[in-house]
Symmetry: C2
């Protein structure tokens, strides 16, 4: 090991490798505080060539590698295990923009570029990168690609995978696979780019990417609606899609209870509509090109027609950007407000969009009945068939004990139910180490076997982010 560390230090230079426990410590626990590991050292290469050199050294010395971006993942995918044998590999020093072609609406940047910085760079050319999420101040391009991140704009623009035009990655043997081709069409074989996207660093280490940009928003209208049920919300969503088509960029739902929690958490929060409503929807309608002076008119017509059809009880329109931001802030505060309620288990699940309302009703009823004293709530991306389903512990529960006991049992029941309904136990947060056991328990055996074969083919010695996403076959790695 000393020989490996010496060689790595020589390859990466003084800024590139540290064994200082104080410097490493902040990166050994995931941001949600669920997992803590140990690492041999923290490597911070400054270039793809350095990553390649380092991975070759790791291959030679059989050192496992845990790649890490902003350490803001939701499933512990960037946290090493407790053995201390793995090298923690930070991509955070690699932040260069290698090319930016505003006319082609493409940018090629390195894996460590932080999402918010990418947003700002695009904005300077009147463009935008249409993916955003709560952790935008720390989440990196490489991490977003490795987890195929979602967010609140998936309805219109898709998840990360839909926004990546090309990738550069270092493979398990240290070779560099470079496919930063800004080609719109390319049928030269298997789509290895999509294979790497969402593979959580288990097949290769993403070092750079060519990303698609879209025009900056010319205008937007955010609508806050009060609704009697999630079934009506679904009908309203269809109505909006039929009425304004592609101009619909966001459709989020929040139950009355969660909104009350937001108001309790943030005393200055104000609900845009009056009266009692079982559910609330946040609807964003946008225009990203000229000639769209009628956006507000279209949004108003859409909502007026919905009102006539009985698809909402009340609605408020943002009249300026400050108000639009305020509406979104209510939505974005939900996770924090919910977390403040005490111990809870959270589930990032999807089911077919048309089944989502009935699923949520059934899941809430089943969990609260089976686990007296708990409160179940769902909120999120109805337009994508993806909700965040939380079950909050009975008042007074001790966090660690409850989460490890009843909480864990509840999660298994939620995942069973999602599977019965034809859904996914991970809509956008990935598997990491958090859900690996559940994926093994509930996943399609044919799918799991395929994943193992591909993992063994691309990483035969199981050195790339071991213990995440893909469990090895019972007989161990094929090497």
């Amino acid at each position: 090991m000393e020989k490996f560390l010496e060689d790595a230090a020589a390859a990466l230079g003084p800024r590139g490798l540290t064994r200082d426990a104080d410097l490493i410590a902040p990166w050994l626990t995931d941001w949600r505080g669920r997992f803590t590991g140990k690492a041999l050292a923290l490597a911070s290469p400054g270039s793809t060539a350095e990553v390649a050199e380092l991975v070759k050294l790791c291959a030679r010395h059989n050192v496992p590698i845990v790649p890490q971006g902003g350490n803001s993942g939701m499933s512990g995918g960037a946290t090493p295990d407790g053995s201390g044998t793995a090298l923690l590999l930070s991509l955070r020093r690699m932040t260069a923009v290698r090319a930016f072609d505003p006319a082609a609406r493409q940018i090629t940047c390195e894996a460590g570029l932080i999402l918010e910085n990418l947003h700002n760079i695009a904005a300077r050319e009147n463009l935008r990168f249409p993916l955003t999420l709560g952790g935008k101040g720390s989440a990196t391009v490489g991490g977003l690609i490795s987890t195929n991140a979602g967010g609140t704009q998936v309805l219109r623009h898709g998840s990360m995978g839909a926004l990546v035009a090309g990738i550069e990655a270092v493979l398990a043997d240290g070779s560099v696979w470079s496919a930063l081709v800004p080609l719109k069409k390319d049928n030269r074989g298997f789509d290895l780019k999509q294979l790497l996207i969402g593979s959580e660093g288990t097949l290769g280490i993403v070092t750079a990417a060519t990303l698609k940009l879209v025009p900056a928003l010319a205008d937007r209208v955010v609508i806050w609606a009060g609704l009697p049920s999630l079934q009506v919300a679904r009908a309203l969503l269809l109505h909006c899609e039929d009425t304004v088509g592609n101009a619909l960029e966001g459709f989020e739902v929040i139950p009355a209870d969660s909104l009350a929690s937001v108001c309790a958490y943030n005393q200055t929060a104000r609900i845009p509509v009056e009266g009692e409503h079982a559910w609330h929807a946040l609807i964003e309608v946008v225009a990203d090109a000229a000639g769209t002076e009628s956006l507000r008119e279209r949004a108003e017509e859409m909502i007026a027609a919905a009102f006539e059809k009985g698809l909402l009880e009340d609605a408020a329109f943002s009249t300026n950007e400050t108000q639009a931001e305020a509406f979104w802030h209510l939505r974005e505060t939900v996770p924090l407000a919910e977390r403040a309620k005490g111990p809870a288990v959270q589930h990032d699940i999807s089911v077919p969009v048309d089944r989502m309302p009935d699923f949520v009703d059934a899941a809430i009823a089943r969990m609260e009945a089976a686990h007296p004293g708990t409160q179940a709530i769902a909120f999120g991306h109805l337009g994508d068939g993806n909700v965040h389903f939380h079950v909050i512990a009975p008042p007074g529960s001790e966090r660690a004990a409850w989460e490890a006991g009843e909480g864990k049992a509840i999660s298994a029941e939620v995942h069973d139910m999602v599977t019965e309904w034809g859904g996914s136990i991970s809509a956008e947060h990935g598997i990491g180490q958090l859900k690996l056991g559940e994926l093994e328990r509930l996943g399609d055996p044919v799918h799991l076997a395929l994943m193992r074969r591909i993992k063994a083919a691309l990483d035969p010695h199981n050195l790339l982010n071991p213990g995440k996403l893909v469990a090895l076959a019972p007989e161990g790695p094929s090497a």
Copy 2:
């Protein structure tokens, strides 16, 4: 072999297997007449279970399988080799629509469904499947998926890969991988769906798919423009994207010579604009939702502004659907008119969109200078950075001799040049057997090695469409 054929006949029933040479013959030559092979028999299973059973038999008896849809591929990917050892597996009997959810805009159908039938089924619910191409009357869903087909709507809707929500496939060992999940978001591991899309039957046999639909067009305006150069066409494309954004659904270019060929080929064809123009562009602007009564006005403003900027010399607008169809018919006749000119070599290439105009000029100049008497022309999907680049033999050339001699040399030179310019030797037609040698010659070794590893992992005995898309490593299959 007799034992295999007996077992296969028993498994598939009387309609499912034939050894009748007359019945098999039409399917042994690709539709362009470039490749002819032999087959042990023609299997036509009627269900996924029958495909799975058949593949298990093939695995047991070591029989290679060549899957085939409509036999309208462009690269010989569905034609067996000359050995006669392979089983030709037609998916054409599997045409069922398993589920159709108009509200969710999704349809689940079997691999043999013909594209034009899919269009018609979608249209009945005021929806459409936004991919079309010349072979729509024979091309099947399975073939389109296996080749990641493109067409004229990629600019807005993407290639086939962007339109597939889920897949069912039979793997090399006969297991059925079923991922027909109509989920918009699902991060449960590697995206094996995208790996199978475009894999030309070398990793699995696609038996069914869940496809995304979009609203039917409420209106469209097709514009025919005369232009001085391809550089100006590119500037016009950017102008259109900036002006109408997502309403731009097609942007095709045709050189004056090709348009003259169309008029010679079809005496009733009429060019929509007067005067001489070096290039012509077909621009389609669409509206697929209500509230778009201003579509024509927007299109007219877009073209008026382009005219003021000097981005076109003349333009004509379709005033009704008949005229819109007539404009498109001119474009669609180009390949036929070009083919009628005599022997030629054709290339389906892409380069980064911004480099395409200069590439076309340079490639035409270089090929015509190096090969006196030839004529080089380019036409197609400028919006995607994808043109079809033909080099027509000197008058009087004998087809077979010229294509095998000078034609082959020209193709190599075109592919060299595309590679130098950072482009792809196959933008949308795939590799098949036609371009396998060229992919091996010009492809990135790291990419080719990755493909071989994945092929060996998923099809260790090389039974799935051998000799297509992915060449085995010099040391042969890992099995």
